[in-house]
Symmetry: C2
Subunit: 344 residues, 2 copies
C-alpha cells in the first residue's frame, strides 16, 4: 500500500506513547507556569505543524483565556523587527525540529527574554536543544512526506500544554484520545469505497470552524500534497463573505461538523449549499446529517467537541491517502517535495 497509510494506522499507539511521556514531562512545566504570568502566547510553525499551531490557538484561547498570536516568521527573519515580548510564552512546532525560520524565530524570542517551548518529533534536533522546555511527539521516524502521525501527536501535546497553563482538561479525558483515534480508524474500509466517487475531483473547499478549523487546513494540505487537488480552506463564516460565489454543482465542499458550539452555523451553511445544489461531504458524528448532504463520513461514538479534532482528522487523512491511490498517484512521493523544507 503506502507508507502514508501505514503511518495513519500507527496513530493510536503513537498517541499512547506521546501521552505517557508528555504527561510526565508536563508536570514540572505546570508548576513553573503557575508561578509565571504569561500574558500572551506566540506560536511559530510551518506546513502541517502550522496547522497544529492553529489548533493550539483556538484551544489556548478557549480554555485558558490567554490571547494567542500565530507568528509571521518574516517579521522576525526578513523585517528584523524587535517585538516587545514581556510575559510572552513562545511555542515552536516542527516535526523535524530543523525548520530554519522556526528555529531563528525561537532564538530571537529567547534572546529577548521570552520563555520558549518546543514541540518536535526529534529529540536530537536543533529545536530540542535551543528551547527552554521541550515536549516530544513519540511517533518514531516519520517516513511519509505527508505528515499524519506527527500532526495528531502535536495536537495531543497541545492539550497537555493547555492543561499546564490552567485549562480544565482532565487527564482522564485526554488519555482517552488514543482510543477515539483507534475507533476512527475503523472507517478505512468505508472510505476506500467512498473515494472512488471523487476520482475525478480536481478542486474543492474544506470548511470548518473553531477547534476543527485547523483540520480544514490540514485536510486541504493533504489533498494538495498527495492528490494535487486544488483545495481551498475556509471558516464557515469567512466563506459566506465572498468565496461562496464560487460554488456551483461541480464545486464540492467537505465540512467538519462536530456537535457543539460551531454546529448551528455550519448547519445554516449546509442549507445554503443545498440550495445551490453543491456537492457536500460531511465528517461528523451526527447521524441525522445524512439527510442534508451528499455523503457523510460518520465518526463513531459520542465525542465532546473539545476532543473531536484528533478523531475527526483521521477520516480526512484516510480520504487523502486513499484518494491518491484511486487517482493512480503515489502519496509517498509528492511532486517537488522533500521531508525537511528549509525556508527563511
Amino acid at each position: 500500500m503506502s507508507i502514508m497509510l501505514d503511518e495513519i494506522r500507527e496513530q493510536p499507539q503513537v498517541l499512547r506513547k506521546t501521552f505517557i511521556q508528555g504527561w510526565r514531562d508536563v508536570q514540572p512545566f505546570r508548576r513553573f507556569a503557575s508561578r509565571s504570568d504569561f500574558r500572551i502566547i506566540l506560536i511559530v510553525a510551518r506546513g502541517t505543524s502550522d496547522n497544529a499551531a492553529m489548533f493550539g490557538r483556538y484551544l489556548f484561547e478557549a480554555t485558558t483565556g490567554i490571547p494567542v498570536s500565530l507568528i509571521a516568521p518574516s517579521i522576525h527573519t526578513l523585517y528584523k523587527s524587535s517585538l516587545r515580548l514581556s510575559n510572552a510564552l513562545v511555542i515552536g512546532i516542527s516535526q523535524s525540529g530543523e525548520g530554519t525560520d522556526v528555529n531563528l524565530v525561537l532564538e530571537s524570542c529567547k534572546a529577548k527574554g521570552a520563555f520558549t517551548v518546543g514541540i518536535t518529533n526529534e529529540p536530537d534536533s536543533k529545536m530540542a536543544r535551543l528551547v527552554d522546555e521541550v515536549f516530544l511527539v513519540g511517533a518514531g521516524k516519520e517516513r511519509s512526506v505527508a505528515a499524519t502521525k506527527t500532526y495528531t501527536g502535536q495536537l495531543l501535546l497541545l492539550y497537555l500544554v493547555a492543561w499546564a497553563l490552567g485549562a480544565a482538561l482532565p487527564a482522564d479525558q485526554t488519555r482517552r484520545i488514543p482510543d477515539l483515534a483507534e475507533t476512527a480508524l475503523d472507517l478505512e474500509k468505508n472510505i476506500a469505497a467512498l473515494v472512488e466517487r471523487y476520482r475525478f475531483m480536481n478542486q474543492c473547499a474544506v470548511v470548518a470552524r473553531g477547534l476543527n478549523y485547523a483540520n480544514a487546513y490540514e485536510l486541504a494540505l493533504k489533498l494538495m500534497e498527495t492528490s494535487y487537488v486544488v483545495a481551498e480552506r475556509f471558516s464557515s463564516a469567512d466563506f459566506l463573505h465572498g468565496p461562496i460565489a464560487m460554488v456551483d454543482r461541480s464545486f464540492p465542499l467537505i465540512l467538519f461538523m462536530p456537535p457543539g458550539p460551531t454546529y448551528k452555523g455550519l448547519c445554516e451553511m449546509l442549507r445554503t449549499l443545498q440550495s445551490l445544489n453543491a456537492d457536500t461531504l460531511v465528517i461528523s458524528s451526527v447521524k441525522v446529517l445524512r439527510r442534508s448532504c451528499r455523503r457523510l463520513i460518520l465518526v463513531p461514538g459520542s465525542i465532546k467537541e473539545l476532543y473531536t479534532p484528533i478523531p475527526y482528522i483521521i477520516p480526512g487523512q484516510l480520504f487523502a491517502a486513499l484518494l491518491a491511490r484511486a487517482k493512480g498517484l503515489n502519496p509517498d512521493r509528492p511532486r517537488a517535495l522533500s521531508k525537511i523544507t528549509r525556508t527563511v
Copy 2:
C-alpha cells in the same frame, strides 16, 4: 462598464479625502496612545476588511514592535471565552460597520476594559457608535459588492494608526500614497488586453509575503467573488511546505514581488516555478523580472516596499474586474452574495 471598475478608478480621490480627515482625527489618538502602554493589538474583521487586518498585522509588528493577534471571532461569540485583555488595543474593521460578529467582539472586549478603535466607511454605523475612537474611510457609498476603494482606504488609515502608535511613517510619505494609486491606474489599458489570455483560467494561486501577503488574499478573494476562479492564496514560504506539489504547467500563479525584504525569497520561488514550467504572472516594479516570468504587470515608479501594498493591489483589482468582463460575467452581481454579510 461596471460599478466595480468605476469604484476602482475613484481610489486616488477617496485616498486623498481619507488622508485629510484621518490625519486630523489621528492627532488626539496619537497623544492618547503615547501615554498608554499597549502591549498587544488585536484586530477583528471579516472578508475584505479581514485582508486589511492582515496588512495591519504586518505593518504594526514591523513598525511598532507591538505583537498583533488577528482575532478568531468564534472564540468570543461561540466559545464565549473570556480573554485576558490588560493593556490591549482592539481594532475592528468593517466597511458597513454592521458586521454582527465584529461588533459583538468589540463590545465584549470593551466590556473587559480594552481600548477599542473602529475603522469603517459608515459614520452612522453601529461600529462607529460603540468604539472609543473611530477612523472613517472617506469612500462615499460603496455600491459594488466586491469591495475595492474601501480596502485601500482601510489600508491608508492603518498607516496613520501605526504612526499614532509610534511607527516611523512620516506624514509626507503617507500623503504621497494617493499619487501612487493614481499612477497605478494607468495600467488599466494594458490589463484589459492582458486578461484575454486568462479567459479560460478556472484555478490559480496568488502568492506574496510580508506586507503584500494581505494583497495575495485580497486578489484571490476578488477572483473568487467576481470571476469564480478557484484562487488559492499562500505566503511563498508556506507554499514550499506542501502546496507546491499542485503545480504543473496548467496551474497558473500570480506573485506580488516588490523590491525589498521579501524579494529574494520570491525570486528563488520563481526559479523553482520556472523549473516546473508553471505559468507565472508577476506584479512588480522591477523591470528585469520580465525575463523570468510569463507575464509581468509593471507598476510604474520607484516605490519603497513599505508603501507598495496600495499601488500593488490596484492592478490586481483591475485584473479581477476586467477578467470578469472577459469571461462574460457581471462583477457587480456575484452569485449568492450581498453587500452586508451577517455572521456570528
